[in-house]
């Protein structure tokens, strides 16, 4: 059997949080600390050397094991801060692991950012060479590919203009074009397709598909774009809190990722103490849950006075704070209303995910007496939660990523005979 091209054994990466938080330290502060309390400093240093100090440790990655075979395209998904980028940085040798070992057979090219090392003062032509060299291409290789790079980026006219005069679109096109023409055995890509206009993104995805399918290159690919992951990757791994949760066929892993409530909910609201005290309804909990792949909005609270006027629900806002809709338990015809009893009640409602686009949504709990008065008015420090919703665009092969617009609906089209 063929040897795996990448073997990862027990990789872990530890950070000391104190280091991270402070940014950089001024030598002056360290010195004044020593002068002020030399004994404390010595004690601290001694503890540090013996390893007894209470520095907060944070494992960005812990005990990661997997192998990748030649020609495989592996997707890496997970929430922000799960450790995906740390893994890529270790694989690209930017930062060493704290534990474990990685064995890689072949040249690695990594693209953690578009246009690394671009210098604004240099011209497009000069930057192609510089950036290519930084990405690990040989000069002869760059010369050979030069025309192709320029053509793909579509910047022939501005080749001898300093890139500081480029539009951001041109800049990104040129940068991606250089990167796309690298020929390493293994290509490591962080979320770089998120930039650039939609047209160019499509072109890039196409180019990447070409690279993998025709040239049999091995690719590791981090993205939040489930569509692109689904389109490109045979296998996908899910990383959560620094651990490898699942590694297998892309559909299954993406499904697991999206169905896990922890992955959807960014916040859960709970009433601490006596907030929103009133004579009708006191909210207790406001959270998201998932059941059989559907997302539900849950409202929990105490009914103190039953009245048919009481309406409880939520308002939902898109990322730019546009109100999308209000919804109350009284939305449907009266016979279908949930019956609210005195005391604790839990009501829930399905989130209409079929019309929502990918994105972060803000949900506010609202309650009122129908057309009389607000009990909990929207936009006034009311109970709020956020959900980070990733839509699976799996219906059409052309629809691979977040679409423009507040809504994203898969409409049916037919031809008139």
């Amino acid at each position: 059997m063929e040897q795996p091209i990448i073997t990862i054994k027990g990789i872990g990466k530890k950070y000391n949080i104190t280091h991270q938080r402070g940014g950089y330290v001024a030598l002056r502060d360290v010195l004044t600390n020593i002068l002020k309390s030399p004994l404390n400093f010595l004690k601290y240093k001694a503890k540090e050397i013996v390893g007894l100090d209470k520095k907060e440790e944070f494992w960005a990655l812990r005990d990661i094991n997997f192998t990748v075979n030649k020609g495989e395209v592996i997707g890496i998904i997970g929430r922000n801060g799960a450790g995906k980028s740390t893994l890529l940085k270790i694989l690209s040798q930017i930062t060493p692991p704290t534990t474990g070992e990685i064995k890689i057979h072949g040249r690695v090219g990594s693209l953690l950012e578009v246009g690394t090392g671009f210098h604004p003062e240099l011209t497009g032509r000069e930057n192609i060479f510089l950036n290519g060299a930084i990405l690990g291409m040989k000069k002869t290789e760059i010369i050979k590919k030069f025309d192709e790079i320029v053509k793909f980026a579509d910047i022939e006219k501005f080749l001898d203009t300093p890139v500081k005069h480029y539009s951001s679109g041109m800049y990104v096109r040129l940068a991606f074009s250089v990167a796309a023409h690298m020929e390493p055995d293994i290509l490591i890509i962080d979320e770089v397709l998120a930039v650039g206009d939609v047209e160019f993104q499509k072109k890039c995805l196409g180019k990447m598909e070409d690279i993998t399918k025709k040239e049999g290159r091995t690719i590791l690919f981090v993205s939040h774009n489930m569509g692109a992951i689904g389109q490109l990757c045979d296998k996908t791994m899910l990383i959560e809190n620094g651990k490898l949760i699942k590694f297998g066929k892309t559909d299954e892993v993406v499904e697991k990722y999206l169905s896990d409530p922890k992955e959807v909910t960014l916040e859960r609201w709970e009433n601490e103490g006596d907030k929103f005290n009133n004579e009708y309804f006191k909210p207790e909990k406001f959270y998201i849950s998932t059941e059989e792949g559907e997302i539900f909005v849950n409202l929990e609270g105490e009914i103190r006075k039953t009245t048919p006027d009481l309406t409880i629900g939520y308002a939902i806002y898109s990322e730019d704070n546009t109100l999308l809709y209000w919804s109350y338990q009284t939305d449907s015809k009266e016979s279908d209303w949930p019956e609210l009893k005195m005391g604790g009640n839990l009501i829930k409602s399905k989130l209409p995910t079929e019309i929502l686009n990918s994105g972060i949504y803000k949900l506010e709990l609202i309650a009122s007496l129908y057309f009389k008065e607000w009990i909990i008015a929207p936009g006034k420090d009311n109970p709020t939660i956020f959900i980070n919703f990733s839509k699976i665009f799996d219906k059409s092969k052309y629809w691979v990523q977040k679409r423009p617009g507040a809504l994203a609906i898969s409409n049916k089209w037919e031809i008139k005979k």
Partner: protein, 274 residues
Amino acid sequence: MKEYVTVIKPKKLFSFADLKEVWDYKELLYFFTWRDLKVRYKQTAIGVLWAVFQPFITMVVFSLFFGALLKVPSDGVPYPIFVYTGLLFWQFFSTALSDTSNVLIVNQAIITKVYFPRLLLPLSTVATKFIDFIVAAVILVGMMIYYGYTPNLIGLLIIPLLLLITFMASVGLGLFLASINVKYRDVRYVLPFFIQILLFVTPVIYPAGILGKYSWILALNPMMGVIQSARAALLGTTVLNWLLVSISLFATASILAIGIYTFKKTEHYFADII
């Protein structure tokens, strides 16, 4: 086809594989140097002539104040050529040192995104300064012709050695400071001041002999040996003191060793805290 195998493990300290790696990346070293040279004189009217102007103007001012007005001794050679020889090496050293110390900060965008042997950055910085040195040396040649000095054969042969010492001293000290700079940005403020002090304890504007029998103490400062030997070799100010050259060489080798050691030790967390 060549088979590449990379093993990524928790980092160890210096190994000779590192040097080989620098060699493998020599093209990138070239591109970094090329970039620095290209970028430096973009949007300037006289471009690379700045490399000549700075030491030249400094020489004129120093000759006027120290040579003509203060009558600083110059080992029996005309003061302008005396001070210019010193300045030439001094500027190579001091500009290389200050740029090397900042090289990791300046290039942090690349360091956190792409892998390459980090040693390339200080090396390319010094290479850039070396080119400035060559350009500025044209003036020295002109002055030597003007004043009628011909270097002896040993003189010409020792110049590369002196350049090597200057190179090692600036890279060694630069690596050390660059490593500290990653964590403590104070370096940025201390350095210009430090370089200024260093100028005065190095015999650039005065001859080393001024200190009499204690001048050997200054020999621990490698640049003293370099500058004095350069003058001896090119202008015949004194007999070439091989002991002094050896002390300089030894001192710089130690500085370089300490510099590389510190650099390699901190290298693994550059990207995390820079």
